[in-house]
Each structure stands twice: as structure tokens, then as C-alpha cells.
Symmetry: none
DNA sequence: GATGAATGAGAGTTCATTCAT
DNA sequence: TATGAATGAACTCTCATTCAT
């Protein structure tokens, strides 16, 4: 399973953090959680699909929930961290003259990441409402930081006269909803459709820009 | 619990379709499903919260999944049917001269409905990915019908020169994503925030209109 | 269901002992018990097939076991009583000159009765091992009485020089086994076979006579 | 429980096919099924009597019915196979000059087997009518094979002029009924009686021989 | 480190029985 | 008398977790 192999690479910096069995467990868990949901997946099923003994799972992960967190946790950080740290810094440092460029760069980046990690993304948004630990993680990594930075960026472009004068929070919600909507439609709702990603992404950007540009 | 009482009224036309115990079961089930998810809620818990014997649940609903469907099924129809049948007909009959009016009317309507039925809505979007029966219901009631009608409406306004010349599917996705994003943020992600619904809704409409108007 | 209507007539002397609902309950119970066994038949199933409310069953029969006993109990008496009381008396009063005649009469009689009441017979032999009450009934009505009488009859014919000089108990077991074997094969094991009852019965009698006649 | 230890030995060729816990489960199940019937025995009861956790039963046997089949299935084969394969071959190969010898050998053999496995035999005949799987097994292992072979043997002795000229099917039914009657009386109906097995068996053979010999 | 048999709490479901109507 | 909603105990079966090997 190609997606899953890449994915592991994305989530764990150093391959040797994981034994071969751990990799197999994580891959089996991701597939099962995405397909049936965390609560409806049994550890015995994961063990069987991973080709390991049930006990082996619990040798590496104290509980079933531990396994979930260890899968989804890194995702939260990987998904968010670059957004916050890399891209945003750049913007504020005037790497992108126009908001078009910035938005396009960011959107492409995020969409590519989610497309590569569809299953993980599905698990993440399915389980966040029910796992306080995940919610906490999410808040910690996005919560204030991202919103603060995004607010700064928006104000930055508003001052440049490029953005409509709605409150930043509204704009953030507008942009985030559109991106989220695109990603969800693309990957979860209608994955079987024959999308031309480049074109559709460009259209989504146009839609957003129409919505927020002055 | 006020929301839940309204809700039952919304879902079941005639109060006497339900016995007192059935009402209590459904209310308890909705609360529990929304809070912990369908799979993580036990029927014994529902029974306890409803103040009935566990057997009573199974007298009215053959299985636990039956209970879920009988809760969420009507929601699908109630949420969608009016959208398709009433609003859309009106538009096509020129009830709304400008797209602004139409969009505003529809958005208000949908948002009000979801706000009144937050819990049900949460259950619906959480469980749809895992319950083929729900997916089927959803497709049957939204699937083609809504998209066809929406396409007609968009073409209608495009011909009037009021709408940007993107493909209808893109516009639909844009609008739907924004509405969905608004509803989810408003009700699920940040319900604790102090929203001024009127204002925020108007802003969302502005955002959408910006995005799709010529 | 023809068999069952006759049957009720056989079991209950006076039709007006039973209300219409009781008849329907008993018929439904017999069918279900015979098909799936007493323990695997639910009262709700009986009620449904009988077209009455579940409560109605318990109005007439205090418990499920009561229902069983009230069905099978009369059978025990009806099946046995004539054997003991009528036939045997006749034999001892020299109604049948030869043992051939006696055996033939008795066998025909028993076989006809069981054939008419196949389902009841099946229930009886299936449940006797597990229902002490039935065992008790059986012992009371067959137990000593039948065996004593049969012993007398056998000794009677042995004295006449018509019967082999095995111990009566052995002869009784031989005869009973053969009859039981015939009935079970005919009605339970191979009911779908195309039997010529007259012929097969005569052969069975020949077999028994061969076995016991001097 | 001595009978049960032998029995396990009979059913499973190699002791190490079964773990200690499995043995305990099977023994407890046999006792309970024989005493109260399959349907009226709960798995929790079996677990308690076996001194294992209830879950352990389901680790070894997927369902309760699986447990039943795995107990009774081997019995069907063990009980029947030798009858068909060993004994009958011998007869046809003239090992037994007279039918007396053959019948005596066979009867002794079967009776001994059933006596040793009374409980299993009881379960088998109690559950066959309600378990299609068992019926199938039975048919497959006895069904045609035994009856065909038996027919051959009977014709063999009829040609030798030793047997009465009734149709083989009638003779088979006669013999089988007598044996079945003997076994059932001996082991199930009147087990508490003080039987002299040798003597009674000889008498049963005499009875059968009387019935079928020319 | 890996195994998988064993556990026992708890899951969903069934059922004989009761009782207000 | 007949009903059928309600009950709660008991049922079969699943599961995350433990631990001796």
C-alpha cells in the first residue's frame, strides 16, 4: 500500500524509530480505523491484518487509545506546524508580494499533504470530537498560534489594501471553510469522481479570492 | 432539555406517534450518541438515562442500529426535502429576483434548522461515513435531486448575468463548503464562542456572494 | 391444519373445554415445539402464530411449562390408557384366541394413533428426558400398570404354549422396541418415504411373531 | 468422571489435540448437554463447571453450536465408521460363517461402544432432530453407505438360505429397531435396573434371530 | 521481544412473565 | 377476557488487556 508507506515516512522522521512489526501494526491500524472507525475496530483485527500477535500491539502501545494517539498525534503536528512556522514566516517576511501567490502556495501545500494522507486525515476529523486528548493536541498546535498568525497575515494584506474589510475572524473562517470543504469533497465525499486537481484547485482559489479580495 | 423537545417535534409530525417511553429513549440516545459517538454508547447507558429497562429499547427498535436510523433518518429528509422542494421551486418561479435574496433565504433557513438540531446534525455527519444505510438515505434524498435543482438555479442566475461563469459544480461546492463550514464552526467547533448570529450569517453571505457574483 | 384439528379433538373430550383462542394457542404451540423443540420456542412466537397477544397465553397457562404439560399430558394418558384398560382386558377375557390376532390389533391401534398425532408424539419423546413432570406422568400411567398387565398377557400365552420361553421382560422389551422402532422410522426418521402402511405393518408383526412365537 | 475420560480418548486420537482447558470444557459441556439438553444449557454454566472463564469457551469454539458439533460430530463417525468399514467387510469376506456369529459380534461391539459413551449417545439422539448440521453429518456417514452394505449382507445370507425372505429393508429395520430399542432401554430408559448385560444381550440376539432366521 | 491462551467485564439481544388498561 | 408495553434477568458472544512461556 503505497500511500501508507509514504505516510509512515512523513510521520516519523527517522525510520529506525519503528521496528518492522510496529510499522505493520500502524499501517493495519490506520486502514482499519479509517474504514470502520476507531471504536468499531478491534485490536485482534489489527493484529491479524498486521500479521502479529495481539500481545505485540500492547507491548508497543500501552492501550488501544495510545495507538490511536500515536498515529494521529504526529499528523496534527505535521499538518499544522509547517503552516504556522514555515509558510507564515515567509509571508510576513514579504516572500509573497500578493495574497494570490500566498494563498495558492498554501493551498497547494495543504491539499497535497492531505491527499497523500487521506486515511489519516479521515481518522483525525472523525475522532477529534470524541478524544479529548486529540482536541487538546489540536488546540495546542493550532489553537491560538495559527489563528494569531493568520490574523496578522490578514491584517498585513488588509493594510496593503488587498483584502476586503471584514473582520479577520470572518475571513479566516471563510478561507478555512472553503479549503476544508474542498479537501473533504475531494477526498472523502466524492473521491471516486475524476477530478482534475490542478484546475479545481485553481477554481477554489478563485472562489476564495473573489470572496476576500477588495 | 429544550432543544431536544423541539427536535422531537420537528422529526415526528404527530406527537402520538411516540409513546412517552419512546420519547425518553430517543432523547437519551441522541444525547449519548452526540456526546460519545454511536459505537461508544451502550444500550444499557441509554436505558439508564432514559429511565427505562434495557429491554424496552429493543421492544421499540429491533437493533441498536435501528435506533440510530430512526433518529437520523427523518433528519435527512427534513433537512433536505424543504431545500429541494420548497425553496428551489420558488426560485425557479422567480420568487427571488436577485440571487442575494435567494441565498440569504436559503442560508437562514438551513442554519436555523441546524442550530435547532445541533446534536442530531452532529450525529448525522459523524455516522454517515460508517453507516451504509445512512449513506444510502442521504444519496436518495440529496444525491441527484438537489444537485440537479441547484445546477438549474445557478444556470438560471448565470443566464441573468448575475453569476460568475465558473462551472456550476464548482459554484455548488463553493457555496456548500462555505455553508457547511459556517455551520460546523458555529455549532461544533466553536459553540462556546459568543456569536452574533445575524451578523456572522450576513458576513458569510457576503463572502459567498463575493465569491460567486459577477 | 387437519392433523392438528383432529388431535385437539382426541385430546380434549369436550370441545367446549377450550375457547377458540386456547385452541389456536395449543395448535401453534404444538407446531412450534415439534419443529424447534420446547426450549428453543419462544412464547412470543407461539403468540404470533396463534394470532393472540402474548399475555393471553399466560392467562390460560400459568407458565410456558404448564402449556407443554397441558399439551403432552393428555397424550400420555390417551396413548396408554386404552392399551392398558381396553385391549388388555379383552385379551385376558379371551377375546383374542391367538396371540397373532391380539398383537395385530394392538399394533394397528397404536400405529394409527401415533400417525394421527405425529407432532405430539415427537414432542413427547423429545421432552420426556428433560421434564421430570412428564417422566412422572409417564411412569404413573405406564410404569407398573402396563408392564404388569403385559406380563400377565405374556404368561397367559406362554401357558397356552404359543410363546417362546424367554423371560416376559425380555419379550416385552422385544415387542416394545420393534413397535417403537417401526413408529419412529415411519413417522420421524423416514416420513418422506412412500410407505405402504398395511404391508409394512404386517411385516413388522411377522418379524415380532417370528421373534417370540414358539 | 471415568466415562468421560475414556470418551475423550475415544473421540480424539491424539491427546495433544486438546489443551487441558479444552478437555475440561468438553467434559463439562457433555455432562450439561446430556442432563439438561443443549438448548437449556448456558455457556456460563459450562464455563463454571469447567473451571474456566466464559470467554475461553469462545476462544476454542466460535459459537455454542460449534461446541456441540465438535462434541457430537466425531461420535457420529466413530460410531458408524467401524460398523461400515470393518465389520461389514469381514462378513462379506466370509469371516463369519453363520449369521448368528456376525450378529452377535456386531451387536456386542455397538452396545459396548454406546455403553461406554452413554452421555454422548444421549446428546446425539436428542439433538439430531433439531440440528441440520448433525442430520447432514449423520446422513453422510450412515445414509446410503450403511444401508447399502447391510442390504448386501442380508442378501448374502438370504442366498445362503439362512434368512427369511422378507425385503432387506424390512429386515434392516427390524434388526436396527431391536438394537436401538435394547440400547435405549438399557442406557436411557432403565439405566438404574440391575442388568446382566451378557444374558440380556444374548436374549436380544435370540429375539432378533427368531425374527429373521428361516 | 514476541506470543497467544486466558480472562472477565460488558456488549447487544431475547425472553418468560407481569400488570395497567 | 384479552391485550401488549414493560420488565430485568439471563443469554451468547466480543473485547481490550494481561502474563506465563
Amino acid at each position: 500500500m503505497n500511500e501508507l508507506d509514504n505516510l509512515i515516512g512523513d510521520l516519523y522522521e527517522y525510520d529506525d524509530e519503528l521496528t518492522a512489526k510496529q510499522r505493520k501494526i500502524i499501517i493495519a491500524a490506520i486502514e482499519a480505523f479509517a474504514e470502520k472507525g476507531y471504536a468499531s475496530t478491534s485490536t485482534s483485527e489489527i493484529a491479524k491484518n498486521a500479521g502479529v500477535a495481539e500481545g505485540t500491539i500492547f507491548r508497543h502501545y500501552k492501550t488501544k487509545k495510545d495507538l490511536l494517539i500515536s498515529i494521529v498525534g504526529p499528523m496534527v503536528q505535521k499538518f499544522i506546524a509547517p503552516f504556522v512556522i514555515r509558510d507564515m514566516e515567509k509571508v510576513l517576511n514579504q516572500d509573497h508580494e500578493s495574497i494570490d501567490d500566498f494563498l495558492r502556495a498554501m493551498l497547494k501545500n495543504r491539499i497535497a499533504f492531505v491527499s497523500k494522507n487521506k486515511l489519516l486525515f479521515k481518522i483525525l476529523i472523525q475522532e477529534i470530537p470524541f478524544q479529548p486528548e486529540l482536541k487538546e493536541l489540536f488546540k495546542k498546535h493550532i489553537g491560538m498560534k495559527v489563528i494569531e498568525k493568520a490574523t496578522l497575515i490578514i491584517q498585513h494584506y488588509q493594510e496593503k489594501g488587498q483584502l476586503v474589510d471584514l473582520p479577520p475572524a470572518t475571513i479566516i473562517r471563510g478561507i478555512a471553510s472553503s479549503i476544508f470543504g474542498f479537501i473533504v469533497t475531494r477526498n472523502l465525499l466524492l473521491p471516486e469522481l475524476d477530478w482534475d486537481d490542478e484546475v479545481e484547485m485553481e477554481r477554489t482559489i478563485q472562489f476564495i479570492l473573489h470572496g476576500i479580495k477588495k
